[in-house]
């Protein structure tokens, strides 16, 4: 088993594993809400809108974890709220206003970065570098997880009602609008927490793939929530390990590991897998053919097998 523990003798790998476990679990749990609330494209847009905030943060306060954190937070919240305000106060729908705002924000970020004295690699922003996590980054990741996870657990019932049917939730006194804003804020926070580790593009994979995979296995919301967290954590750790062993980019390996799990579930999930459904349909046909044959030959027929769900 030394081959398994050997990579984690290095301090940078220990930090990376700690970051993977925290980010993977938090984003995995949150992914249940992103998938059911259909926020994946919103998350994508918000991920790009972090850039001008990062640029201004760097220009004003230098390249520190806290300047990146607050810059990104303000930029993403401004874009998310701006899109909401434009859609409410005009004929333009929210997806359009978000599309305009995030591309403008991304472009502004690139222009602003060209004025910055600190050199920032765009590649780093998009794809992260989990092997270079500093103590400050780990503290931010830990702090964000410590905010998001308890909130998701405490608010699980009202969030579940809101996601299932917002009208029924509102009729039971749930503040649906406030919960939606809170969910968006948590999404922004988790994006920022993933920024240094896997970058904004790959963060989206961590925020959708875990719950989407469990969604193909289970009809339980609790399974989606906790299973998403565990899968996110396991997928991130396995991806990190593979990236070390094969000397490949770590962020990409993490998302590929999660993508592999999703593809396997899509094809082979016992309940909702595409191939499994195909095989099961043939089985039912054969079963009905067998029953028809015994009816014709007047033999005693086997009882029909009921669909188990």
């Amino acid at each position: 088993m030394t081959w398994l523990t050997e990579p984690f003798r290095h301090e940078f790998m220990q930090r990376a594993l700690f970051g993977c476990v925290l980010i993977g679990f938090t984003n995995g749990c949150l992914s249940a809400f992103i998938v059911l609330r259909r926020l994946a494209l919103m998350a994508d847009a918000l991920s790009h809108s972090l850039l001008p905030g990062l640029a201004i943060g760097i220009m004003l306060f230098g390249l520190t974890p806290s300047s990146l954190f607050f810059g990104a937070l303000v930029a993403a919240l401004l874009v998310a709220l701006g899109a909401e305000i434009i859609s409410r106060s005009s004929r333009v729908k929210e997806d359009t206003s978000l599309g305009i705002l995030y591309t403008v924000a991304f472009s502004a970020g690139i222009v602003l970065l060209s004025f910055s004295k600190v050199r920032v690699e765009l590649h780093h922003y998009l794809f992260g570098n989990i092997l270079g996590l500093a103590n400050g980054d780990l503290w931010i990741i830990f702090g964000i997880s410590a905010v998001i996870l308890p909130l998701l657990v405490i608010l699980q019932r009202p969030l579940l009602l809101t996601l299932f049917d917002s009208t029924v939730a509102a009729s039971q006194g749930v503040h649906v609008g406030a919960l939606n804003y809170l969910l968006l804020s948590m999404l922004v926070l988790s994006m920022i927490s993933s920024l240094q580790a896997v970058g904004v593009v790959l963060a989206l994979g961590l925020l959708t793939a875990p719950a989407a995979t469990v969604y193909l296995f289970s009809d339980s919301f609790a399974a989606l929530f906790w299973g998403g967290g565990i899968l996110g954590m396991a997928g991130s750790s396995i991806g990190l390990f593979i990236s070390y062993e094969l000397n490949l980019p770590s962020g990409a390996c993490i998302v590929l590991a999660l993508g592999f799990a999703f593809c396997a579930a899509y094809l082979f999930s016992p309940r909702y897998g595409v191939l499994t459904r195909h095989i099961r349909r043939r089985h039912l046909h054969e079963q009905s053919l067998a029953r028809w044959k015994c009816t014709v030959t007047s033999q005693s027929c086997p009882a029909p097998e009921r669909n188990k769900t």
Binding site: Q156, L161, F164, T167, S171, D219, S220, T309
Partner: protein, 243 residues
């Protein structure tokens, strides 16, 4: 809940972007009644149901139940949305959905106790869903889905059931079965208000009828108000637009 508990709607106006959807509606109905909410598309039936449950704010007037504001009676009122408004692929079983009816009583923290489980079991049994409790909700027929929503309302211990188009998309036998279930609930001193389109089945399914077309056209016992004149006044006139 005794029969003298009543739902009072006084001078209720609800508007969207300053155009009234319903206009100065006044009605009073006691528990134990089964009320058909009748009117053409756009008449404000869904708006009236949402205003009663407090989802849309009134422009004028008020709705009270048991002489108290509706917000204080949230546990007494169950709103059953149109089936088309639900994401039927949501990862939840029939039992899980019925359990959400207990959330209001349990709040965010408390665990399910034995009596809560018993309440869910009883609700499933009354709606004849105990054998289907483990199914994902999309694996139910339309009539069973409506019964699952009713079971959820029973687990909530609601007394007023507001149903938005519950018969839409159901075949005849499912419609009749759901109609019997609603009358049985009304017979146990619950108040049922359901928006409805099939005029032919109104007299056999509902003991009260409320004709709405932006304004209140008529309200009362079905035998008194279900007349050709009221039907014509409701369905053959221009919808009040507030313009």
């Amino acid at each position: 809940m005794s029969a003298h508990h009543r739902l009072e709607i006084k001078d209720l106006t609800v508007s969207y972007h300053r155009a009234p959807a319903i206009h100065h509606v006044t009605a009073e109905v006691e528990c134990g009644s089964c009320v058909a909410l009748l009117g053409p598309n756009g008449a404000g039936k869904s708006t009236l149901l949402k205003a009663i449950v407090g989802i849309v704010p009134p422009e004028t007037g008020s709705v009270t139940f048991h002489s108290g504001a509706m917000r204080k009676s949230a546990a007494d009122i169950a709103y059953l949305p149109q089936r088309s408004a639900i994401d039927w692929d949501f990862p939840i079983t029939v039992r899980g959905m019925v359990e959400t009816g207990c959330y209001l009583r349990l709040g965010m923290w408390r665990f399910f106790r034995k009596e809560d489980d018993a309440r869910v079991d009883a609700a499933l049994e009354r709606m004849r869903l105990q054998d289907l409790a483990g199914r994902q909700i999309s694996a139910l027929s339309g009539g069973q889905q409506q019964r699952a929503f009713l079971a959820r309302a029973l687990a909530q211990d609601a007394h007023v059931f507001l149903l938005d188009e519950p018969f839409a998309g159901l075949d005849k036998s499912s419609q009749e079965s759901l109609g019997r279930t609603l009358r049985e609930l009304a017979g146990r001193e619950n108040l049922i208000i359901a928006s409805h389109h099939d005029l032919k089945s109104v007299p056999e399914m509902f003991d009260h009828a409320l004709f709405l077309n932006g304004e209140l056209i008529a309200f009362g016992e079905t035998k008194d108000v279900f007349t050709e004149a009221n039907i014509a006044a409701t369905f053959d006139t221009e919808i009040f637009s507030g313009a």
